[in-house]
């Protein structure tokens, strides 16, 4: 039920982001979802791609520091209070969200939110028990 995310260290300088997208484009890798967190000096680019192993390899070849992390993808009903119901559940369980980002499925019916939790397995269990739809890795890579 976990999704593999790659993350890349980027200095804040012109062309940094495009050198990543170029390397992925050349390797015909599709980016499914992304988020960029940044400080004044550096950024961390987080990506869900359709081929994690190849993506890591081509980025390492370009000299980037690349990390792999397990995140959780949850389908959220596209209505008021959709996200709130998830967060309340997790707060009640004492599970912390390190970061999150959202994207919309192709059909446009539901939003998908990518979460990084401090305790991933517990979070998945709680979400499933309470009827939330946790997506499998393959579902997300092939969205």
């Amino acid at each position: 039920m976990k999704v593999e995310q790659i993350s890349i260290f980027l200095e804040n300088k012109p062309g940094g982001l495009s050198s990543v997208t170029r390397a992925l484009s050349d390797a015909k890798i599709n980016i499914r979802a992304l988020s960029l967190a940044d400080t004044s000096d550096f950024g961390i680019l987080r990506l869900i791609v359709d081929d994690v192993a190849t993506a890591k390899e081509v980025l390492n070849d370009q000299g980037f520091a690349v990390g792999k992390t397990h995140v959780v993808a949850v389908e959220v009903p596209d209505r008021p209070g959709g996200l709130n119901s998830i967060l309340e559940l997790l707060t009640g369980k004492g599970i912390n969200v390190e970061y999150m980002y959202a994207f919309v499925e192709r059909s446009g019916e539901n939003a998908v939110i990518i979460f990084r939790f401090d305790s991933t397995d517990e979070a998945i269990e709680a979400l499933q028990q309470n009827g939330f739809k946790v997506l499998k890795g393959e579902q997300v890579y092939g969205l």
Partner: protein, 433 residues
């Protein structure tokens, strides 16, 4: 094993007697053959006859790098050019290089001292020595080369550069020893790993590393990544080249100075005062046997400490501690003395950090600023901003704790700081003072 046992194990009194005899000879010779020394001795009011004991050495004036530049190119040679068989020159990053000359006998002496160095690294004629010091005007390449041949070992005259070929020959020729700068050996280890080579499985047993200051932690990293023993060698072209002093594999605690050929003193850089043996200070060398280019009390700007105790290897020559820095590398940041090697040591004390760093010193108004750029390796990279910021804070704190200066730490992408194939450039001083 000791290469020249009769000299390298002389009792202290015998070393000093030999030094005095040779000192008197060389002082007399330079006074009569080199105009610069005659003038310098005359204005200091000292003549060769005044040198009656080793203690009288301090009556002689210092020689410094600027004196070499002022007498460019051959003004300090004490023999005619017909007796000179070799010239070398320093890199000369600012202005003209400094030029040194050798007679046939000087080249022989140098080879002998390098052979001693190889033997103190545990090598003999059965070894294959991969020499990655640059061949050319730099003394490293030819110095190590002649020493290896003198010993009877097989030398691979590889020189610097051509990284892929270096790695190929390290695998195919199976050298048991390598000579280069420590930063270059780490660069090779990294390059080899990237090529998919298991650098630990090479036949390499020992590294004879020098020509730049390095830290004990860098030594540990080299030893770990290549599974070798890393030893420190010291020399500078003005004095002779590599082989002036060398660490022994038995003691691994300080470098034995070839005291039958050189006298070393430590002085206070600011006042020029001679310090008691054992106090850290700037090393000052006097050559005792060099014919072409003798130097009297040459200020090296290298900071070290002397250890006169007899070593467990049996050599009686005094040892100098690993160079902790150069007085001209020393940065004064808001009044605090900082050596790049100290920062390196702090960085290597943090798990996962690589010794690839750049210090940028600047001035904001009247205040000095120090920025330390450190490469992010995958070992310390995290997908969480907070973790990376904690790493920055940790480095800042460690630098503050150990050195007493506040640094701004900036994480940079891997492989972006310059890897020079030779001496690493670690400092960018933008202050215009």
């Amino acid at each position: 094993m000791i290469y020249n046992e009769e000299f390298e194990t002389l009792p202290r009194e015998a070393i000093e007697a030999l030094q005095l005899k040779r000192l008197q000879q060389v002082v007399g010779r330079v006074y009569h053959t080199v105009g610069f020394y005659r003038k310098a001795f005359d204005s200091a009011g000292v003549t060769p006859d005044d040198i009656r004991s080793l203690d009288d050495l301090k009556r002689l004036p210092f020689t410094c790098k600027q004196d070499l530049r002022d007498n460019y190119p051959f003004g300090l040679f004490s023999v005619p050019m017909s007796s000179i068989v070799r010239l070398h020159a320093s890199s000369g990053t600012t202005g003209k290089p400094t030029v040194v000359g050798y007679t046939q006998r000087d080249v022989e002496t140098w080879a002998t001292l390098m052979a001693r160095s190889f033997v103190s690294a545990g090598l003999n004629k059965n070894d294959i020595i991969h020499n990655a010091y640059g061949y050319g005007l730099f003394t490293g390449g030819l110095g190590a080369h002649y020493g290896a041949e003198k010993l009877g070992a097989s030398v691979i005259p590889m020189s610097g550069g051509s990284t892929k070929k270096q790695i190929m020959l390290l695998q195919d020729f199976g050298p048991t020893a390598i000579c280069c700068t420590p930063s270059y050996l780490l660069f090779l280890a990294e390059a080899g790993k990237e090529m998919g080579v298991d650098m630990k499985s090479l036949r390499l047993r020992v590294g004879i590393l020098g020509a730049e200051p390095w830290s004990g932690r860098m030594r540990e990293q080299i030893e770990r990544e290549l599974d070798i023993t890393a030893l420190d060698i010291y020399g500078l072209s003005e004095i002779m080249g590599p082989g002036v002093a060398m660490e022994c594999i038995e003691g691994r605690n300080g470098l034995h100075i070839n005291e039958d050929h050189f006298i070393v003193e430590t002085i206070d850089s600011a006042t020029g005062e001679v310090l008691p043996c054992g106090t850290p200070g700037e090393l000052v060398f006097t050559t005792l046997t060099k014919e072409a280019f003798p130097l009297i009390r040459y200020r090296t700007k290298d900071i070290s400490r002397l250890m006169p105790q007899v070593c467990k290897c049996g050599r009686t020559f005094a040892r100098m501690e690993r160079i902790s820095g150069r007085s001209d590398d020393m940065l004064i940041i808001r009044g605090v003395n900082v050596f790049p090697s100290q920062i390196e040591s702090v960085l290597l004390g943090i798990d996962g950090l690589e010794p690839h760093y750049l210090l940028i010193v600047d001035r904001d108004g009247s205040l000095d600023t120090l920025e330390v750029q450190v490469e992010v390796s995958e070992k310390i990279f995290s997908d969480e901003i907070r973790e990376l910021q904690n790493m920055e804070k940790r480095i800042t704190k460690d630098i503050k704790d150990y050195l007493g200066v506040t640094a701004k730490v900036k994480l940079v992408e891997p492989n972006t700081l310059e890897r020079i194939e030779g001496k690493a450039q670690r400092v960018l001083d933008k202050r215009n003072i």
